[in-house]
């Protein structure tokens, strides 16, 4: 049965989560980000959108694969460095980021599993916060099969009813998290349920933006590969990595060796985020680059999210969070680009 949690008891729930690394949105220098919560009392879930999505906890920007060092028998010793430590619980995950995690699950899953991703993913508990009003000026989750109160990818969904939260534990992990401080919660009354559902229904009408009938965009994109459309659209792109690093569904990464000492050789193989917007992402060591200019890279970003991923997984690889629109220094707007693709007459 769903539960009710008074806001004044919220910190008591957090205090009962000693077994977890508790992350919550925190304002640092005018920028909200999910940070390790130092003081449970200071956490409030009244915040707009974070700059870096919750993906940074499940798929961190830097991660060790293994340590290598030269053994005396002129060979190498490898020491696997799988992520350990307490499971993470992330408070205040927006539904668009919850759904984004289900999309990265598809990539890192499949017949060859990525152990590093799944070690964190399986233990992480995502506590969602339904968007009563859009957290960003560029939200369009409804247009890409999402919604401001979708439960996809979340373990618990909170809905703000004013002085208390309506708590829906959705998965076993969610139920266990709630049971950590069971006494703090009360059974929800039918009135609470109706209030929560009303907020959910209202929130769908308040969305800041939308991207209408894009059903045939994937097919359109297939035919526009060689179109000069991409040169015009990417004229103002400055080729930085903001739109992809801060996108909740972007999962591209790089693998490099970091050397600590040359002799005897010792170091680590490290995974870091990478982006298709940088030239060396696809450049062969011969200098040949299948994607030589920013037009090709903008095309890749749009095609991957609205064609290739749709062909592979029958879902857009965009959950409508609007970060790439809000944070692009030169105002490239993915909604406008996709609308122009939709209306493009070759």
């Amino acid at each position: 049965m769903d539960k009710i949690l008074a806001k004044k008891d919220f910190s008591r729930w957090l205090e009962a989560l000693g077994a977890y690394d508790v992350y919550a949105p925190r304002l640092i220098d005018d920028v909200w980000n999910y940070e390790l919560a130092a003081d449970p009392k200071a956490i409030s879930l009244d915040y707009p959108q974070t700059a870096i999505p919750a993906k940074k906890i499940v798929f961190p920007q830097r991660e060790f694969f293994f340590e290598f060092h030269e053994a005396d028998t002129d060979g190498y010793e490898l020491k696997e460095l799988l992520p350990g430590g307490k499971p993470a619980v992330i408070f205040g995950v927006r539904p668009c980021e919850g759904k984004a995690v289900t999309l990265t699950d598809l990539v890192f899953g499949g017949e060859i599993k990525d152990d590093y991703y799944w070690k964190r993913r399986n233990s992480a508990v995502l506590v969602g916060l339904a968007c009563a009003s859009p957290p960003s000026a560029n939200c369009f989750c409804l247009s890409v099969n999402g919604s401001p109160h979708s439960k996809e990818g979340l373990d618990v969904l909170l809905t703000d009813l004013g002085d208390h939260y309506y708590v829906e534990a959705l998965t076993d992990k969610g139920k266990k998290l709630v049971s950590e401080a069971g006494a703090v919660f009360h059974e929800a009354k039918p009135g609470d349920k109706k209030a929560a559902e009303k907020i959910h229904a209202d929130s769908e009408k308040k969305l800041s933006r939308e991207l209408k009938n894009i059903k045939d965009v994937p097919a359109k994109l297939k035919g526009m590969f060689a179109s000069p459309f991409w040169d015009d659209e990417s004229m103002s792109c400055i080729r930085c990595g903001i739109c992809t690093y801060l996108c909740p569904t972007c999962h591209c990464f790089d693998i490099n060796d970091e050397v600590e000492s040359q002799s005897p050789l010792a170091g680590r193989r490290v995974r870091t985020w990478d982006t298709c917007q940088f030239p060396d992402f696809t450049m062969h060591s011969s200098g040949h680059n299948p994607r030589p200019d920013k037009a090709a890279r903008l095309r890749q970003r749009i095609n991957h999210k609205f064609q290739y991923f749709v062909e592979a997984w029958q879902n857009y690889q965009c959950t409508g969070c609007g970060r790439c629109i809000t944070l692009c220094p030169v105002g490239i707007d993915i909604i406008k680009v996709v609308e122009k693709v939709r209306d493009h007459v070759s």
């Binding site: 870096i52 830097r62 103002s236 400055i238 870091t272 940088f278 060591s285 220094p329 105002g331 707007d333």
Partner: protein
């Protein structure tokens, strides 16, 4: 007051006469009423052009792009590109001319004076409007900005929502241009290095605490480098993501290329990258403030470059970006340069 009609008329004249290939200007973004770069090729499109306090982009960045694009084309159209520049942006052109990166004939400069105000800082405006969304911002009379939100129009004193770069601006009037719009008003800037002076009052430990906390947030998205007109190297020495390789680059050249820093966004590598960028901007950064605006995690990057601009002025009497014929800061010296720090 700079009238939009004058700007549009000039643009139309240049496009119709075919003197310029296309014009790099500002266009109002219908989504949030703020300006974004626009590339106008046809005379009938000039109505898009705007000039308002949200024209914070440094469009000279796209003059650099044009040079790269021309270099790649087989038979490029060698006509100049038109570009709208503010006072600071024009000094970026001076640096590119000083370093012979572009020729004067490559650009047709439409100068716009900021007169007594400047451009807004989006974060300051958002705080001031407390959640309301600004739909339109215009220059208003006697140093006010006219801000229209859902609830109506309000006059805000420019100094409260202006960007720091404008509060500390030393050249509101373009220093180089083919045509200039707006009054050539003089402006006194009481403390041009105000933001940097704050840091200098801190002890070394406090400075390190401040900068290490700030630069630890860096996600190495290279927004600061990508938006900067001065960062035009084909291959950045600090962290090459371009790696200018040609078919006849030998394997040894590639294998022995020094990897100065790791790709990991950790404090030691972030600070290395930002130090290299700051030192390479010494005597070249004209404080257009775009690096700080583009940074998604809000690191006060301006203050790194501003410090070196201040030192160049105080120690070496060097003014940045006013004279295309002057040598670069670190390729000249004076006998009376300070040497007391040398044993």
């Amino acid at each position: 007051m700079v009238k939009h009609e004058d700007l549009k008329a000039e643009a139309k004249k240049l496009l119709e006469s075919g003197t310029i290939k296309y014009l790099i200007a500002y266009e109002r973004n219908a989504r949030d009423g703020k300006a974004i770069p626009v590339f106008i090729k046809k005379p009938e499109e000039v109505d898009k052009i705007t000039w308002d306090p949200t024209c914070f982009h440094n469009l000279v960045r796209f003059v650099v792009d044009e040079k790269r694009r021309k270099a790649r084309q087989k038979n490029p159209d060698t006509r100049p590109v038109g570009v709208v520049v503010k006072g600071c942006d024009s000094r970026a052109l001076v640096i590119l001319l000083q370093e012979k990166f572009i020729d004067r004939k490559d650009v047709r400069i439409i100068g716009v004076s900021c007169e007594t105000t400047g451009v807004i800082d989006e974060r300051k405006l958002a705080k001031k409007l407390k959640g309301q969304k600004a739909k339109n911002i215009e220059f208003g009379p006697d140093e006010n900005f006219v801000v229209t939100t859902e609830e109506g129009t309000v006059n805000l004193p420019a100094s409260e929502i202006m960007a720091d770069r404008c509060l500390e601006c030393i050249a509101p009037i373009p220093v180089i241009s083919d045509v200039l719009f707006g009054e050539k008003t003089k402006r006194s800037t009481p403390h041009p290095f105000g933001s940097v002076d704050k840091i200098e009052t801190l002890s070394f430990e406090d400075r390190w605490k401040f900068w290490s906390e700030q630069l630890e947030k860096c996600v190495r998205c290279y927004g600061c480098r990508s938006v900067c007109p001065m960062c035009y190297c084909d291959e950045c020495v600090a962290d090459t993501i371009t790696f200018a390789v040609t078919p006849d680059t030998t394997a040894d050249e590639k294998a022995l290329k020094i990897k100065w820093l790791d790709k990991s966004p950790v404090i030691s590598e972030n600070i290395f990258y930002h130090m290299v960028r700051a030192i390479h901007l010494a005597g070249r950064c004209i404080d257009c403030g775009e690096c700080e605006r583009a940074c998604p995690v809000n690191i006060p990057l301006r203050m790194l470059n501003k410090k070196l601009e201040k030192e160049a002025k105080l120690l070496f009497g060097y003014d940045v970006g006013f004279d295309p014929d002057k040598p670069a800061l670190i390729s000249c010296f004076r006998d009376e340069d300070p040497g007391d720090f040398i044993r």
